[in-house]
């Protein structure tokens, strides 16, 4: 469904993605792992047009993503994104955050949008927080609202950029649980994460990115248990055995 074909991306002279080839099938959960600065966020942001890329192509269901084209907005209505720092709209309640996209971008009927937003908040376990402003929610709660906001667009896929990295440890579980439920419902997901446990249990395949290249990719269990490349071994060792 999402196809990366020899994607190159530079910031000025600094080449960050050096020819990415990968494919994510419909309903698959793919985890993207790799050291800091390897280009994980950049790759993700190219998928929904937040960044442009110079060479190669990314296509979603056959539509090429081009950040410079005026149609880039329609890509965003089909592929949602969940950010590390939640990025909820602080001046709107949880419910309003979820309703914003369907109401103002998709221009759907207010009453129906409201009902669906309520249902989504219920689904992420926040039925009692509909009228709360983001500032009064914990990090875990905010991230779950952000997931509901992403789901409200009825996306064909969701991109997650380190969704649990900014959370206190005791809140990581509640967010991962919501993501797990999404995976069980066959949502297509591309997840940048350092949660190796989650990657092993939930994802279908894992991409290991280092220095702007995919060093290794394969089924999650196999790659995480028996990495072939030295760099993958090194990285996994460091992530799983922090000093």
């Amino acid at each position: 469904m999402i196809i990366f074909d020899d994607v190159h991306k530079s910031f000025g002279l600094h080449e960050v993605l050096k020819g990415i080839n990968a494919e994510i099938a419909k309903g698959q959960v793919v985890c993207l792992i790799g050291p800091s600065g390897s280009g994980k966020s950049t790759l993700l942001r190219c998928v929904n047009g937040l960044e442009n890329y110079q060479r190669g192509r990314i296509s979603i269901d056959g539509t090429v993503v081009d950040a410079a084209s005026p149609q880039v907005h329609t890509i965003c209505t089909r592929v949602s994104m969940v950010f590390q720092r939640f990025n909820l709209f602080p001046h709107r309640t949880a419910l309003e955050n979820v309703m914003e996209g369907p109401l103002y971008v998709l221009k759907e009927n207010r009453k129906q949008v409201r009902e669906r937003a309520m249902a989504l908040l219920n689904r992420v376990g926040l039925a009692d927080k509909t009228n709360a402003y983001p500032a009064s929610l914990s990090g875990g709660q905010q991230q779950r609202v952000a997931i509901a906001r992403a789901l409200a667009m009825r996306p064909q896929a969701i991109l997650f950029d380190e969704p649990t990295s900014a959370l206190d440890p005791e809140m990581v579980g509640e967010v991962l649980q919501v993501m797990r439920a999404l995976a069980d419902e066959n949502m297509t997901m591309l997840v940048v994460t350092h949660e190796i446990q989650f990657a092993r249990e939930v994802s279908d395949s894992v991409l290991f990115l280092d220095g702007g290249r995919i060093v290794e990719q394969g089924p999650a269990k196999e790659l995480l248990r028996h990495p072939k490349h030295e760099r993958t071994k090194d990285f996994l060792h460091r992530v799983m055995h922090p000093v």
Binding site: C76, P90, A150
Partner: protein, 218 residues
Amino acid sequence: MTKFIAHATEYLPLLLNGVWLTVMITLFALCLATALGLVWALFRTSGIWSLAVPTRLLVDFVRGIPLLVVLFYIYFVAPDIGINLTALQAGTIGLGLAHSCYLGETFRAGIEAVDTGQIEAAKSIGMKRPLMMRRVVLPQAFKIILPPYANNMVMLLKDSSLVSVISVQELTMQGKMLASSTFDNMTVFTLVALLYLCLTVPLNLLMRKMEIYLGAAG
């Protein structure tokens, strides 16, 4: 003191005429400055070169000229290119134009101070720029902008005294005329100063209230 009060009651009706005009000039100029200032700020943050660069030039140009000269320019030079304005019109437009450039910079700073994560979140749910500005950026920029905006409003009110030099009979001009006919400089200008304070002090208080209210709304 009783003499002051006696004279003051005598002068007050004339000066209040001036107050009325000062308030009207300030209000109209403020509307103009706010609308134009918003346009300048949106142009400058548009990322569209052909809008941003001319706007920047205009803003820097006007900000680099004394307000008094801007007023003279509009009042005395405009007729030469076929635009005839009354002193009142020229004064109001001049004030509004000059302050639109000060406000434009304030608005731009406020827009740019909104967290980039907010812009990315807006884009990630498919918002195009106008919708993103209206629903996400401007409401958040508003809170950042309000204190300097209030400050600017008080400055505009005080700057409105400058239009007296192109013979608009607002508060300062009324005071000047009254003082030269009565030779009672002390009473007249004390009154003028007090009347300005009566306008600016409530404005400051109102804005402080609003800031606290907005701060609490989160």
